[in-house]
């Protein structure tokens, strides 16, 4: 005996595919790799050194340092502005934890030193050859880091000559970048360079909260 056909109440529903449950992506606490690649494509050490070579070409010895410092002041600002733009565009869970703590609990103390530290780390990871930035101090008073075997210093030496590199005009690059961070985060802080690659074999920078 043929089985009586029952009405399929879900016939219409079955015509559209059942939405499968997709688990939310696990949090990423790391920096976005595309962001690092984009920064490297625009501000890689070789590219900046090439631009410097063009900027000081044909200049007299006296004008070279002045031109190099002016170049690095402009470039340092552009470098950090791009870093800040990308850093805010490409978020990660590490910074979100800080910002949520500020937004939800009003923990303003969480902003320093971690927000400036993130921009500093993105900037150098996107342009240097190391896998992590050697942070020397990060506490309520100071954020300090060291740049060993600077890729930019080496590239300047290669493209423009060792004497140009030893002038350390590139200090303006890092110092202007730090000043750009200071203005962006609107915190009172004093930035200083306490060691230089030409003299000490590495650069060291301190950002002191006032």
């Amino acid at each position: 005996m043929a089985k009586a056909k029952t009405k399929d109440y879900f016939k219409e529903l079955k015509k559209t595919p059942y939405p499968l449950f997709i688990a939310p992506k696990p949090y990423s606490f790391d920096l976005n790799e595309d962001m690092i690649d984009m920064l490297r494509a625009e501000f890689g050490a070789e590219l900046v050194a090439d631009k410097l070579a063009t900027a000081i070409k044909g200049k007299s010895k006296a004008d070279t340092e002045k031109a190099a410092r002016a170049f690095f002041t402009d470039q340092g600002k552009a470098w950090m502005q791009k870093t800040i733009q990308l850093g805010e565009e490409y978020s990660d869970r590490t910074i979100e934890v800080i910002l949520e703590s500020v937004d939800r609990q009003g923990n303003q103390f969480m902003l320093w030193p971690h927000v400036p530290q993130r921009f500093v780390e993105i900037a150098y990871l996107g342009t240097q050859n190391f896998l992590k930035v050697p942070i020397i101090l990060n506490n309520a008073e100071v954020l300090a880091y060291r740049i060993p075997q600077c890729a930019l210093y080496a590239a300047i030496g290669e493209k423009c000559g060792k004497n140009i590199a030893k002038m350390m005009a590139c200090s303006e690059y890092c110092m202007t970048a730090l000043d750009t961070v200071r203005k962006h985060v609107e915190m009172e802080m004093l930035n200083e360079q306490v060691a230089s690659t030409a003299k000490d074999g590495y650069c060291e920078f301190y950002m002191r909260k006032l």
């Binding site: 606490f29 790391d30 869970r93 971690h114 992590k132 942070i135 100071v142």
Partner: protein
């Protein structure tokens, strides 16, 4: 000075005490991974981290089997991995809290394991995490059940004083020497660090101080003996005063902060020849 001070201390900070060197609290927030590199060790999960090297249980088995070679091998690995801890008194604890950021109050994993106590909010937390690793606590949701309450330095000090008042010992924990990433508040027998130290002579480095009783001030109330987690203090019936066994004393200072008459002082260990080099 202990070997940690020799290796990681800075004469310009805290008289060379390694845990008062602010550099030992600094760490990068991010790292780039080499192509194809995955997560390793504790970063991959608590279980992976725990299985990536010998455990305290392996060490206890070596002692049980009287196997000196195995004992030396395991302690060598643990030292190389930068595992370790040190007891600090309240005054130094206050100074430590000014050197790190961020500071997060968290649930104690030892009390959860031993007493099945789930600390679920900031009013119940009895442990503290320090440094940028705390920003990534969600990587280990089982460890940080209940979450993390971030606090500022003043709040952290206030909390720490409350822990001291309740009778907890302050122990700094290394997360890959010399990086200090945790500040445990411990008591015996709940805490793994104290239990290993008292019962098996393993683990924590003793503090840089030794408790000394001023017998003119001591009235024999016995409060200090109640607070001592190390079995180092006893009430002497004959003299009706407190007495410290300096070989058992870990220099945590709980007796000092608990004494109503200010009869106990902490003497730097280096000034007491008998125990100047006794660190475990």
């Amino acid at each position: 000075m202990c070997w940690m001070c020799d290796e990681f201390g800075d004469a310009e900070h805290g008289n060379g005490l390694w845990y008062l060197n602010p550099k030992n609290y600094a760490r990068n927030m991010y790292k780039l991974r080499a192509p194809g590199e995955g997560f390793k060790g504790a970063e991959a999960g608590l279980e992976t981290g725990a299985r990536s090297g010998p455990s305290q249980m392996d060490l206890l088995n070596a002692i049980e089997n009287n196997d000196r070679a195995e004992y030396d091998r395991i302690t060598g690995i643990m030292t190389a991995r930068g595992q370790g801890s040190q007891i600090v008194p309240l005054d130094d604890a206050d100074r430590v809290l000014e050197l790190c950021s961020p500071i997060g109050l968290i649930a104690c994993i030892c009390r959860k394991g031993i007493r099945a106590i789930d600390e679920r909010n900031e009013h119940e937390y009895t442990c503290m995490g320090m440094g940028v690793g705390m920003l990534k606590w969600e990587r280990w949701p089982e460890r940080y059940k209940g979450g993390v309450a971030f606090v500022n330095i003043d709040e952290a000090k206030e909390w720490n004083h409350e822990m001291d008042r309740r009778g907890f010992v302050h122990i700094l924990m290394l997360f890959g020497a010399p990086f200090i990433g945790g500040f445990c508040q411990c008591d015996y027998p709940d805490c793994g660090a104290i239990r290993n130290a008292v019962d098996f002579g393993l683990g924590s480095l003793k503090g840089h101080y030794v408790a000394m009783v001023d017998y003119d001030k001591c009235n024999g109330c016995g409060i200090c003996a109640q607070r001592c987690q190390w079995g180092a203090l006893k009430f002497e019936v004959t003299t009706e005063k407190a007495n410290v066994d300096i070989f058992k004393c870990y220099g945590c200072g709980l007796c000092q902060t608990g004494c109503p008459r200010g009869a106990i002082k902490l003497e730097p260990r280096v000034n007491v020849p008998a125990v100047a080099e006794v660190w475990t």
